[in-house]
Symmetry: D2
């Protein structure tokens, strides 16, 4: 299903080398001031940068095709569309019968009977995160008073990773990385025990991102090594503030008012300029493949703004559900 | 929302100290042979055991209230209900104004305006996993040819953990743990890139379990330390078998036919028989609390069958969606 | 799917001759005062009465299995269960191979491969409207200020129909009827243009009732005979009141604040004590059938409270969506 | 919610006088041969014609923005977009404070706090049926063996209505009409008792069309005048064929294999070139209004292809759910 959310609902569409990529946001409150320029900063953060990114030049300026009039959202479905420019599909021609290891090439071919658009990964491309980031911009604007900030914690296992990225790129290799996101100002009471815990909804969206292999909240996997007497967060006031935050701001699937903390593990990108073994789908023989084209050495570097977008969209949906965001924003004059 | 799934849909209900707990399964194929005895083995596995479990005696034999006739599912909503017996709510009376650290007590009270049933955690209780396990039994019976097996990997950071659990219990403390689940025989092609990746659907369900702090697939968080040349799984045949399985059986959100591998991190149970700090909701003053009653020293010990149930339910749903399970099973005569 | 609604969600279950029938209401606001006695009046209205009803004695007193504590809803899924008493399945034994004309017998058998419970219509029974009425009771209690009243307009084409019903029953026949429902006090703004118009949501629920063959709003089918100059409702104030109400209180799929008016056409019950032609499923030969057992001569007579329930449930859902009903009700002291 | 369907899901978007209108179809089987020319015939049928239609020239040729490659659907979300050309919004400027009787002007203004795009009705415009028709084209192509044909039964109460339409147009007035749709070749077994009866799903979609005031199946409202002995359809073979078809091809909410028959009542269009009373939203005074611009004298004339589209989309969804349409179509060579 290309949809997520119950009230603030995202529908995502497009392919890497087709006409473009986009998102339709249903249930966006009416009256949000919005313009094409609002997307620039976050889409720029998503763009490949420095040594770790792909040289592909993406000029991503969404057009507002629906649900927008006179500088505000109207309450009708909000459609954001980003044209695909600068597309070179030639590098993918030779790959038709040589599925790239670690990629969705082979499963997509099987799932869709070979009808899928394989160019640039098609609908599986990381390019689909551009409309997600655009949706995140809308969500963040709706979340007055909530600050969502993600950052790269480490790359290839190192906290100071600039050099490691450059080295991997030189060697035609790629690196995994870890991203942490903290949301401050999240009201208590968002999420439900079954089945829509706050963790469930966030993880659902985060695990739909390509390359994500793990998601954890608060102390996360390290909690498994702790004792209850160490892991419980002592309450310090009736508002629910806690002395520690091992829970990452969530109890019983529900936000508790303390900072929401989560971490996302990204695997190294699969496309590398080194020889790898694969199978030729025509002959069935094992052969080698060296993926050409332009690729990221580390997608984690571009991921923080995408992770923020996922969090923001989930939080807006839950705040609408809880009646903490109105379906029509108050008019701002002057 | 108390529902999950698109075709094989679970609705969960009940409280720890109310009349009982149950699950309604909508979309279960007609014609599945089923009886009350089918649930015994898995519900027994969920029961507290040995040093790590709570002494509460749970005799969980589901009654089939709907969707069942002459020993088969009928195609109507299948309702499984487990009465709550052996319930002692007295231990919870004193807790009304003393929220237990690490528990949902305070957030539930706020979210539901104090109308929630707090006895035994109410709808937040681990007791709600009993109907989930029952749903898992149904799902496993539908998954002929798929083997789903979960086990405890480690407790409190140790692979040989029997003694550690006994020690924690003696000291009135609790331990976290790690559970791994492997599903073999999962057909390729299950899941979708956006937003219903196989990881998304599994994590959604797993994170609705109490005490889960992290979920990872394949090499998981360790992938973040790898290079692409290490992490990619070389293809060895046209069926998609791979030499390694860092991907945990999933590419691009879709099962690839290799074993599905995931791990779930459980924090130590919050209820411990040691003094902890909390706040008195009446006075606003910080005080201490020692949780009485019967509690698990380590929920991870009971978790494997619950994790299996989550996996089985998701897989059945996806196999129905993919047309790999029919809505009516062939009649078996004799 | 056994579910309807987006926030106030109903899941219905049970069969006519199984253990019972029930409904799980997810998303019911916490804090609604509720008790088993609240259901008596409306369930009594649903019971067969006088000459038009079946003599089956239904003692329908729901048990509250989940989501209820100390006389209030808790915010957890609210489960209402009605045991089936006084069940005599013998009349259905002979019908196994003789599908009753007008009934779901044959399609159910085919759809579910013969695994469906055919006794009393199973999950297709009119008995399933009992939990719907129970859900309607909850919804009506939530709808302070909205008055929903349905009544039988005509039976067998006649406005004064008592005698017609008695005659039909004597002759072993049955009669169709027309029910009108008016809701006053519905706030303007409920519903959406696509695809969840107010008419769409109401019709969805109403057409799931057995025997419903038509649904119309305002002037309904008669609108097709009118000219725009006759059919348009002139506005008389800025609040949106109109001089006439051909629109039945809805414009563009959205409530306009005028009374909501709809009519539902019920066909005559299919079970009649007269000889009818059917086919013997074993021999394939055409034969005759006379349905025994106890049946309604006119279901429309029992339908008003059911139609009210459908309207009430839809309106509660939309008011929650619009933020006009809070997820937690204010506490009433004293 | 701008979505309908469970597997074959439509998301609709756009406004009458914005950049365009479109539909995203999620869950469309991969491998359907499709091209922009496939839409021409049905979109031409939807266009205003002769005396009854608006003179607005609509050149509706959808662009395939997603989910389409090399002449086939790919399995990714299929996006169809129709640009709005030939738009003159000047006629709507004066209406800002004069809500048109019978229109959604006032309710939309209230629901969306005045942020809605009012030009041409915005998202409430009949223009939104163009992408629905386009979705219907896709659905019909998927429904090999099912013939869906709708036609105008009567206009303004007359079966021979050409002259009546011309007269109404001359007089600046409009007419209602009745449309009947028959689907032959629908397999038995589609639909569910609660809550997704075949009637429920069809009515849900049909009632989201502007101007629909009633929907009935088979003998419909006239059933309310019949006796059971007249209304029951005698079975004539084990396949479920019936001698009559009062049920319109549906029993218990499930298709029975006989022709599916439904009728839809359309009210006369609200926009008429005659003086009507309305209220001035600034002064609160009652005033008169004469709607300029180009409008249909009878939308029922354009409606058959739209009604067919609704039926086709529902049937495809149910056939996918029932496993009667595969998620990937077999490849057709040559």
């Amino acid at each position: 299903m290309n949809s997520c959310g119950r009230i603030f609902r995202l529908h995502i569409l497009g392919e890497s080398h087709g006409p473009g990529v986009g998102v339709v946001i249903d249930g966006c409150p009416a009256g949000l001031p919005l313009g094409p320029d609002d997307f620039a900063a976050d889409l720029e953060r998503r763009r490949p940068r420095g040594a770790g990114g792909t040289p592909r030049r993406e000029t991503d300026r969404p057009r507002l095709l629906s649900g927008w009039w006179r500088g505000h959202t109207t309450g009708a479905p909000l459609a954001l569309w980003i044209d695909n420019g600068d597309v070179d599909s030639s590098a993918y021609d030779e790959l038709e019968h040589l599925p790239r290891p670690g990629h969705a090439d082979l499963v997509a071919r099987r799932k869709y009977g070979g009808f899928n658009d394989p160019r640039g990964g098609g609908h599986f491309s990381g390019r689909l995160t551009a409309p997600l980031v655009a949706a995140g911009v809308v969500a963040k604007k709706l979340l007055a008073g909530v600050d969502i900030t993600a950052r790269v914690l480490e790359v290839g296992g190192e906290r100071d990773f600039t050099e490691a990225v450059a080295r991997a790129r030189e060697e035609g290799d790629s690196l995994g990385g870890l991203v942490e996101c903290v949301a401050r100002g999240v009201p208590a009471g968002l999420g439900e025990p079954f089945f829509d815990s706050l963790e469930s909804l966030l993880a659902h969206l985060l695990f739909s991102l390509g390359g994500v292999r793990g998601v954890e909240f608060g102390t996360g996997f390290a909690s498994a090594h702790l004792r209850g007497s160490e892991c419980n967060d002592p309450l310090v006031d009736t508002a629910g503030r806690t002395a520690s935050n091992h829970a990452g701001g969530i109890n019983g699937g529900i936000s508790n008012g303390n900072p929401l903390v989560l971490r996302v593990a990204f695997k190294p990108p699969s496309s590398i300029a080194r020889e790898q073994h694969t199978v030729d789908l025509r002959s069935g023989e094992i052969t080698t493949l060296k993926v050409g084209g332009r690729h990221d050495a580390c997608i984690a570097l571009r991921a923080p703004v995408i992770v923020e977008a996922c969090c923001a969209c989930v939080l807006v949906d839950l705040m609408l559900l809880a009646g903490r965001l109105p379906p029509v924003l108050p008019r701002r004059d002057g």
